[in-house]
């Protein structure tokens, strides 16, 4: 655990230095931390609060306000199903259910082996190609229930 913490500290320090210890860049720094660990570890936030001289509660307020940040560990791959109006009427809820069945988790959860996280999003802005599923930043257009296993297998290797 101590080794893990040491690594944490260095990385956090590095990210904060890159942003010049600027309090106003808190969100950018949090995004940087999330990019490294795939979530916001408690230890990292405590270190950040000391480095930036921001009260810890303020960092937590920001981190819990935005859906993009997570305080619990995320899986290796993150599947995001668009549940916006356009995708919704084209069957996004059924696609989400298929993901839940295939991965054996509920929405906003992570599989036990830490491989997959399933998330929903209100709208991605690309309604023309809906229903949309985003996996690790790749957009999968015109998804259907039948395409779900294909999408999952692509990342399972």
């Amino acid at each position: 655990m101590s080794v893990h913490q040491l690594i944490n500290l260095e990385k956090v320090q590095e990210i904060v230095e890159r942003h010049g210890y600027n309090k106003n860049k808190l969100i950018a720094i949090l995004q940087g931390i999330q990019a490294v660990y795939h979530y916001l570890p408690a230890e990292a936030l405590k270190t950040l609060s000391k480095l930036l001289k921001i009260p810890l509660i303020d960092i937590i307020s920001v981190a819990t306000f935005y859906r993009a940040f997570s305080l619990t560990p995320k899986g290796q791959h993150v599947a995001t199903v668009c549940m916006g109006t356009a995708c919704h009427v084209r069957g996004a809820p059924k696609i989400l259910e298929e993901f839940e069945r295939q991965l054996n988790i509920r929405r906003e959860e992570t599989t036990e082996d830490g491989q997959w996280s399933l998330e929903t999003v209100a709208c991605l802005g690309c309604c023309a190609i809906g229903p949309v599923v985003v996996v690790d930043g790749d957009y999968h257009a015109h998804t259907s229930i039948r395409k779900v296993p294909t999408i999952l297998n692509k990342y399972r290797k």
Binding site: A42, L45, P55, L56, I57, D58, I60, S61, T64, F65, L71
Partner: protein, 226 residues
């Protein structure tokens, strides 16, 4: 000096005053809940709503955060204001029905029914404790977390905060997480026992004291005398 009109009376406010402070100075009562003199205005409870402007362009603003402006026309007790206040009390009551402060407000403003589901969260998110902790106690141990219907006040990671000195300031100032009035114990979530008692324990303005010269009828103070 800023000159403005309040309930048809010309009033003068000093630079930097809010509508609420001006009203207080002139003895006009505006109910508040999340306002405290030692803390920064927050505008969360919406009890201090007043109507500014005239005619169809009149709008409701929270007087504790709205600064006094030259030539502003303010009405503190129009029908619209009273209705909005009652709605706010009703909403807050459904979240924290055990609060004496909110029960008293309900009786005072004639809220006699509650159409919302009782949630017993005992927190109306007025932010008094957060401001108390930060501004008066210099603690910064608690704050708002999450958003929307999941919004809550807590310490980081819901654990005992290192900054907390157990001063109890947050509990002292909280209007919601307190015991209900120890007087007559009503069965229902909405007490209103003050209304059935005579003399009532709430304040009542008679014809002479009433600012509106309309004692009891405008609905701002308690009720008509029996």
């Amino acid at each position: 000096m800023i000159t403005m009109k309040m309930n048809g009376v010309e009033v003068k406010a000093e630079e930097g005053w809010t509508i609420l402070e001006t009203a207080k100075f002139y003895g006009l009562e505006i109910p508040t809940l999340c306002h405290h003199e030692g803390l920064t205005p927050y505008g969360a409870c919406r009890l201090c709503l007043v109507e500014i402007g005239e005619g169809p362009r009149a709008k409701l603003v929270s007087s504790c955060t709205y600064p006094a402006e030259e030539g502003l026309v303010v009405h503190t007790d129009t029908k619209r204001v009273v209705q909005a206040r009652r709605m706010m009390i009703e909403l807050m009551l459904s979240v924290a029905p055990y609060s004496k402060t909110i029960q008293d407000l309900a009786s005072k403003f004639g809220v006699t029914r509650m159409r919302f589901k009782i949630r017993n969260e005992e927190c109306i998110l007025c932010g008094l404790c957060v401001r108390m902790c930060e501004e008066q106690m210099d603690g910064k141990a608690i704050g708002f977390q999450n958003r929307g219907y999941q919004r809550k006040i807590s310490t980081p990671f819901d654990l005992r905060s290192e900054e907390c000195r157990l001063c109890g300031g947050c509990i002292y100032i909280c209007p919601a997480c307190q015991l209900r009035c120890q007087g007559p114990q009503a069965e229902s979530a909405l007490c209103n026992a003050c209304l059935t008692m005579d003399p009532t324990c709430l304040d009542y303005y008679d014809e002479l004291q009433c600012w509106m010269y309309d004692a009891g009828r405008c609905g701002t103070c308690v009720r008509e005398k029996k």
